[in-house]
Amino acid sequence: MQYLLSTNGLTKQYGRHKAVNAVNIHIRQGDIYGLIGRNGAGKTTFLKMICGLAKPTEGEFTLFGRSGKEAYRCLARVGTLIESPGIYPNMTAAQNLKLKCLALGVRKEGEIEELLRIVGLADTGRKRVKNFSLGMKQRLGIALALVGDPDLVVLDEPINGLDPQGIAEVRETLLRLNKERNITFLISSHILEELSKIATHYGIIHDGVLLQELTGEELLSRCSERIELKTDDTRGACTVLDGMGITRYKVVDTDTIHIFERLSDSGEITMSLAGHGIRTLGITVKNEALEDYYLNLTGGGVNV
């Protein structure tokens, strides 16, 4: 089995709109796979399909080496947290976990206490979930996803609404589970900086289409370089860049432009600007932030 989960042209169409369009992702055992995309990019719809909550319009997925109907039989080995945690507010955390244990036939002694301990909710006792903070509810959602010792855990925006401390706690929990239990994670998020702290692989999805699939190292290397141009006439500089055939650039502020192509041509750019009477205050090659890389890839920040 090369991949723990792979999809083949997975598509979901609502009416004429393709929410997910022929997505192919590949996840190996032990990966922490970050699915990056804006709100409405199709992340949740995609995750719902591979969790068996929504039927694909086209395509299929292979799970634990099995495809077609056989793959659906393996979904008991997949833990899920899709969108907000689905919990009974009038019950305690332990009772919510007990329900899922009963549904899945999990009879392991001390399973509920162990899960509560893992997510840091061991001392909630008889407190009802409706009185939990958002972070506690999110952690309970993660605990629910871990019921039954799943091999793959799918988490949709698990750090949504969490404060910095909560985000750090969830991050540490996921990393620990990945290392200690070798659980594979598929995590969707639009908070790239956070995802970059734990993910080993990335898939970038935009308008339902998977634009790129790359490893953490590849992403870091691709984020590496850009030309940062400082000038007192950004409007004029843009005209010059357009004239040079440079299209992948971004005006960051009133005197800064980031150029993402022809990184070795900074001298030529400076000369051309001078030729048009535009002063260059500074020109340097710099690393690109993950967020900028994403925006450039999805067209969100180019020619702003």
Binding site: G52, I82, L99, L102, A103, L104
Partner: protein
């Protein structure tokens, strides 16, 4: 499947709504008994009221032609001085549809909770047949309905003894068991119908409102229109659609009703349970979880 039933039973017994509904069941049983006692006092003081009661009872047992909207219970004028049979007394309350109202409310709240709070997302993908979720809910509703009917009967019996002493008698007969069995199927049929409506519309408000209105007899005019239409097409066929509906049968299947009435009522109840369960399973299986 068995795991899902265990899950839904666990949820049922740990839900506040379950205990609230059971408390209301006892409350309504006490209320009905006290109201009957007041009726008996009124009959004892006004013989004309007794004659009116006799006529109403006669009309109710003959068919649904003169069925009115609302919930009514009858008090037998003979109970003023004679023995009050517990079975007949409970029958007069159950056929009014009072307990159906509670069944409808509970079913709507219980079935829709999983969709409303999103818990279904935690389990729907992990179970081999998502349609089984409908059967597990039906099993929980079956238990709750049985508990409600038993609690209602016991509460009325206890208060009956308190209010009327030795005049209140309990005779367990085959007819009584048939009556309870038939009413159980009809009440569960209502609960199953609510389950189907809630799953179909994803709205507890819709299911609850439709169920309550149905119990109150709001569909009587529609039945009348259908009956008239059928009569226009085929006058020789004495068709009455209400005889094949849950609300139409609950009022007729009282203790002492004819065997064919009881058989038809039981069949209607069972048919509704089976059909609603099947359609609910189908919807859950085919529809995406949102």
């Amino acid at each position: 499947m068995f795991n899902l039933i265990k899950m839904d039973l666990y949820r049922m017994f740990h839900s506040v709504s379950t205990w609230v509904i059971l408390a209301f069941t006892v409350g309504i049983a006490f209320f009905c008994t006290v109201m009957t006692n007041m009726d008996l006092d009124a009959i004892a003081q006004d013989p004309a009221y007794a004659v009116q009661m006799e006529e109403e009872i006669q009309t109710e047992t003959e068919g649904n032609e003169d069925r009115e909207m609302g919930l009514y219970t009858e008090t037998d004028p003979e109970w003023v001085i004679g023995k009050i049979d517990a079975g007949e007394f409970i029958s007069s309350q159950l056929v009014s549809g009072l307990l159906v109202l509670l069944c409808v409310i509970f079913a709507a709240v219980f079935v829709n909770a999983e969709q409303k709070n999103g818990y279904i997302k935690n389990i729907a993908g992990a179970i081999p047949n998502r349609g089984a979720l409908a059967l597990s809910k039906l099993a929980a509703l079956a238990v709750q309905t049985a508990v409600m009917i038993a609690l209602f009967a016991v509460s009325e019996t206890v208060l009956g003894f308190i209010l009327w002493g030795e005049r209140f008698t309990v005779n367990v007969t085959a007819d009584l068991l048939v009556f309870f069995g038939t009413q159980y199927l009809l009440h569960l049929g209502f609960a199953a119908l609510m389950m189907f409506l809630c799953i179909l519309t994803k709205s507890s408000a819709f299911g609850m409102t439709a169920g309550i209105l149905m119990t109150m007899g709001i569909f009587v005019p529609f039945y009348s229109i259908i009956n008239r239409a059928v009569y226009e097409i085929r006058p020789s066929w004495e068709f009455d659609i209400s005889l094949y509906m849950l609300d139409g049968n609950i009022g007729l299947a009282g203790l002492g009703a004819d065997a064919d009435v009881m058989v038809r009522a039981a069949a209607v109840g069972a048919a509704f349970i089976v059909l609603c369960a099947l359609f609910s399973m189908l919807i859950l299986k085919r529809r995406d979880v949102r």
